[in-house]
Symmetry: C2
Subunit: 340 residues, 2 copies
């Protein structure tokens, strides 16, 4: 099976190489039947384009990345994964520009500004973004962009583009199974980010179903609105109102506040807490035992895969949304996930 090149395809279809190239890529204007003939020839011969040659001949592709800037430690994980993958592709001719928008600003203004930056200057060939919004305005604006798009971290409407996210329900399920392992826990509580935001809802649903299957009771649910103080207070009232609770799952990055509250109330050791994501504060809680485990949402791998997907997109290969697997972090393997 000798390697078949575009020259072979062109010959087989009785056209010039340049014509074959245009037909294959859908660029320029070529006769409908010519396209058909070339496509058939390519399929018959089992033609697979040589990426190295494509990169060398075409202009260098540039990937634009638009992500939030808070919370910094977690966003940095995405960046690390992106850097990982880019290092690999950079030597093949891919470039990238990363822009962080202020996701604590009023509304979605900062997100749109970032979008304009990339779109107006036409300086990127593909865009990876984390939407700050679900509004129809956002949707429309994104639809206007004719370059390949990919949503990172937050699942986008599939009619807009494919997504790379963690498997959200699995995060909750793993937390529930973990708490059930102890055998001694019966009543549990969950502190989510904000119940009616899709991602947190999915976390919660996963937790609820797995908890039910394992005989764990879901006694109380509270929203932290991603705020440490709120989380502390909600934990306090949860402990007061439901003294039977022995396990808590914190599905956003406020687990340290929950741990503080439990320690302050002298309940450390009595209540098992499982949080999400690995960063300085959760790592410390895990090390000192206030946190029994962490479900790592694998931001690094999410970042890495988003680049791979975008490269495929830019090379016209078909792609599908993917769900990255969460990983359970205990004390001994923490070093694989976090270095002070």
């Amino acid at each position: 099976m000798a390697k078949v090149s575009i020259t072979d395809v062109a010959a087989e279809a009785h056209v010039a190489i340049s014509t074959a190239s245009k037909a294959l890529n859908g660029t320029g204007s070529i006769g409908k039947d010519t396209v058909e003939r070339v496509m058939e020839a390519a399929k018959r011969l089992g033609y697979r384009p040589n990426r190295a040659a494509q990169m060398l001949a075409g202009k260098q592709k540039k990937i634009g990345i638009l992500i939030p800037d808070f919370p910094d430690q977690i966003i940095s994980c995405f960046e690390a994964g992106i850097a990982d993958a880019m290092e690999e592709y950079a030597s093949f001719g891919f470039r990238h520009t990363l822009f962080r928008y202020d996701n604590r600003a009023q509304g979605d203004a900062a997100f749109f500004d970032g979008l304009e930056l990339f779109a107006r200057k036409e300086l990127v060939d593909g865009l990876i973004f984390t939407p700050s919004c679900v509004s129809s305005v956002c949707r429309d604006r994104l639809m206007q962009l004719s370059i390949p798009k990919l949503s990172l971290q937050i699942r986008a409407d599939p009619t807009i583009c494919t997504s790379v996210t963690v498997d959200e329900p699995m995060v909750g399920r793993m937390a529930a199974e973990f708490l059930s392992l102890f055998g001694t826990i019966r009543s549990t509580g969950v502190i989510v980010g904000e119940r009616n935001i899709a991602i947190h809802k999915m976390n919660l649903e996963g937790y609820a179903s797995e908890a039910a299957a394992r005989g764990l009771e879901l006694t109380a649910i509270a929203d932290s609105y991603n705020d440490m103080n709120t989380a502390y207070n909600e934990t306090e009232s949860m402990l007061q109102n439901f003294p039977q609770i022995q396990g808590i799952f914190v599905s956003s990055y406020v687990a340290p506040a929950v741990c503080s509250c439990i320690r302050d109330r002298g309940k450390a050791g009595d209540i098992r807490v499982i949080g999400v994501d690995v960063y300085k504060e959760t790592a410390e809680c895990l090390a000192c035992g206030l946190l029994s485990a962490i479900i790592y949402q694998n931001q690094r791998e999410q970042g890495r895969q988003s680049i791979r997907q975008m490269v495929s997109l830019l090379l016209d290969e078909p792609t599908e949304s993917i769900r990255i697997k969460p990983e359970l972090v205990m004390n001994c393997n923490l070093s694989f996930y976090y270095t002070p």
Copy 2:
């Protein structure tokens, strides 16, 4: 920062492009001072070779892979990871040939045959292998091969080549931490493959140190010699001689036999078992609860990374041995690791 190419380097060093190329790659024969001048120019300009162009111009690189054929389900995981990565690199011009040697045959004959196959025909530019042996003969034979080499799954003598393996001690440590989570387990046993084989020894040492740190007693150790019947019998006598044991770590793929024995003796539920690696039988034990968790030695990632490393090696980039992180598999996330 405009992209700097070999043309720029050649100009800066006042030599022809072809001379610059040879100097940079150490091919052909060129004056010592010329090489120096080119190298300096390259460094000054921050030259980074374009891989796409290298692949296109050079002859297509072929990677040879020589791995055992037993146990099939586990070796297939390595293969899957290799296929993953090759799919990516194939479109850039890399090829590969995989050969499985019979690792249940007499001595190391089959391994050497495989080695000869690749070496004699000179049909590969780089070799990834899983050594069946640690003999000095093996060592010498490998040293003779002048192509880039990489040891997969089993750590090779670093003077021979770099390795891609799991973090062996961590496998044991995670098992110990997991068993300690229950809070009710005090006395534990370990069933290893073969105590004086390096990889199993490292598993055991990791387990022992983490167990000690967590107040777990390491009551008994037995060798299974990777044989199901032996494992069954060893478990039987362990249960008999040490009835106080409440947790068992099985560090080779014979966990199903250990589970069977425990079930047959009516001890299911009383003794927590944690095994390694995900395949049909362990997946079933996990699903039915005989196994409480599995430490996945991430063969797939090992396979994937071995290809990436080899690609780097073939492109003359520096590499270091890497230790892949094991992952804890519970019931709910089993689907990420195994599909019937």
